[in-house]
């Protein structure tokens, strides 16, 4: 049981950042400040669980709807509401007018001209552009939802960036195999080297193993990078706010509270920047990996 009297308790702090089955809202809106997410399955009995060496690494599969699932759907709806009308305007062939149109089109064109085309090559880039656009804006909206009060950042739970990285991995391997052939893609992982036959027999399987391992690690790190950035930012914010609670009973509160608020505000600005930066990095690295798979070496 977490000690809720200690504001710096790890479980308590991480509980504010991690996924949950409720939204934390002011007490005026819900009893005990927790707005429960409606469930399709009443029981919280796990349907299936998995035992892994690290305790608690894989949570049970229980079909319970969580906050982050709701936020992902909300984010997806926001993207549809933003981009479908925009598409109708752009299709008409008019020139961009208004802030929103220019803002969104600038980002779309940046991804196309500065990310997709340099990394994949102009000819192939357009095939992967829908994927890259979706990745960028989905990650971005998930990151930005973390800056909305009482919401949270779905990218702060490993399942989200993990699933997205698996998507990128699938596209990379799928695109590579579609372009080079299933055998060509995997043998292409070993760079061409002029080796004596005996050495080649020895070295090439090892290099192959390293390269394939590298392929998996690259995508794993892709997920961890996004997760770490989002989670760390929100944890730091939680700690800064926790200072207020920790000093609430002493006179230091007078100095700590404004400092914490100022610090949290400044860090929130940084978080806004990080939200865009990490979405860009995720999209950019996805494009790079696709480019490497489609044009090896």
């Amino acid at each position: 049981m977490a000690d809720h009297d200690d504001p710096f308790d790890a479980g308590h702090l991480i509980g504010h950042v991690k996924d949950a089955e409720y939204f934390e809202v002011p007490h005026a809106f819900a009893l005990d400040g927790k707005l429960k997410v409606p469930q399709i399955r009443e029981s919280s009995e796990p349907i299936a669980t998995v035992q892994v060496p690290i305790e608690g690494l894989v949570e049970p599969f229980d079909l319970r709807i969580t906050k982050f699932m709701c936020l992902e759907v909300i984010g997806a709806i926001i993207l549809v509401v933003l981009f479908v009308p925009l598409a109708n305007k752009i299709r008409s062939g008019g020139r961009p007018m208004g802030r929103l149109w220019n803002l969104l089109e600038a980002m779309l064109l940046f991804i196309r001209d500065e990310v997709a085309r340099p990394a994949i090559g102009k000819h192939d880039a357009d095939k992967f552009l829908p994927f890259l656009w979706t990745v960028f804006f989905f990650v971005l909206i998930c990151n930005l939802l973390g800056m909305v009060p009482w919401a949270g950042s779905p990218t702060g739970a490993f399942a989200t960036p993990g699933a997205l990285a698996l998507m990128t991995f699938s596209v990379v391997v799928g695109a590579g195999m579609a372009k080079m052939g299933p055998v060509g893609f995997w043998t292409g992982q070993v760079p061409h080297m002029d080796l004596p036959f005996v050495l080649a027999i020895l070295l090439k399987p090892m290099i192959f193993a390293i390269e394939v391992l590298g392929l998996f690690i690259k995508h794993f790190v892709l997920a961890v990078r996004l997760l770490a950035n989002m989670m760390a930012g929100h944890l730091v914010l939680a700690v800064l706010i926790a200072f207020i609670a920790a000093s609430a009973k002493s006179f230091a509160f007078v100095g700590v509270a404004p400092a914490s608020i100022l610090g949290a505000t400044a860090l929130s600005m940084l978080e806004l920047f990080v939200a865009f930066l990490q979405a860009y990095i995720f999209c950019f690295l996805s494009a790079l990996f696709i480019g490497m798979a489609v044009h090896p070496h």
Binding site: V17, T49, G56, D62, M69, L86, L129, A159, S170
Partner: protein
Amino acid sequence: MKTLLNILAIAAILVGTSSLALAADEPAGGHDATTAHAADGHGHGAEGHAEPNTNPLSIDPDLAICTAIVFVLLLLFLGKFAWRPIMAGLEKRESSIAENIQAAEESAAKAAQQLEQYEKRLAAAAEEASQIVANAQREAETRRQQIVAEAEAAAAKERERAIEDIKIAKNAALSQIAEASVNTAVGLASNIVRREIKASDHSQLIKDALDQFPSRN
């Protein structure tokens, strides 16, 4: 696009099955573990007061599957209703801008060419005009000289005729004066003679005078 969708569909299935496989691994393993876990997670969701999972890397298979489904649906939906039209629209706008620029360049080149032509033509026209003026001046000069010469010739001719006329008139006048003076002399002489000549002499004189007539005419 189609291959991409196929790949993603496979990816979604992969995420789902791998999470499910991970999750389903356990019940196949042993019933004891399952029940133990069930017991563990007993109070887990209901009140949210259970020991929270503090592992920041913990994976919720439900969330992973949900993310994959939301992502693939979003990709499909936006791909059809947003990304394709946007790509086509941007392409259209770019090509129309490129066409406009090319057309503008072409018309500028054409305009420059025309300007050059017109300038050439204008220069030629100016040249021609000055030629025409010069010709006209030359002609006018010639004509003037001609007219002057003609006028001078005519004037000279007129004067000559006038001089001739004057000469004739003078001669006539002189002969008239001579006649008149002869007549006067004759009249005077006859008056003088009539008083001293007698009738015979008179007829003789008439006869002489009559003789003289034919020779006078």
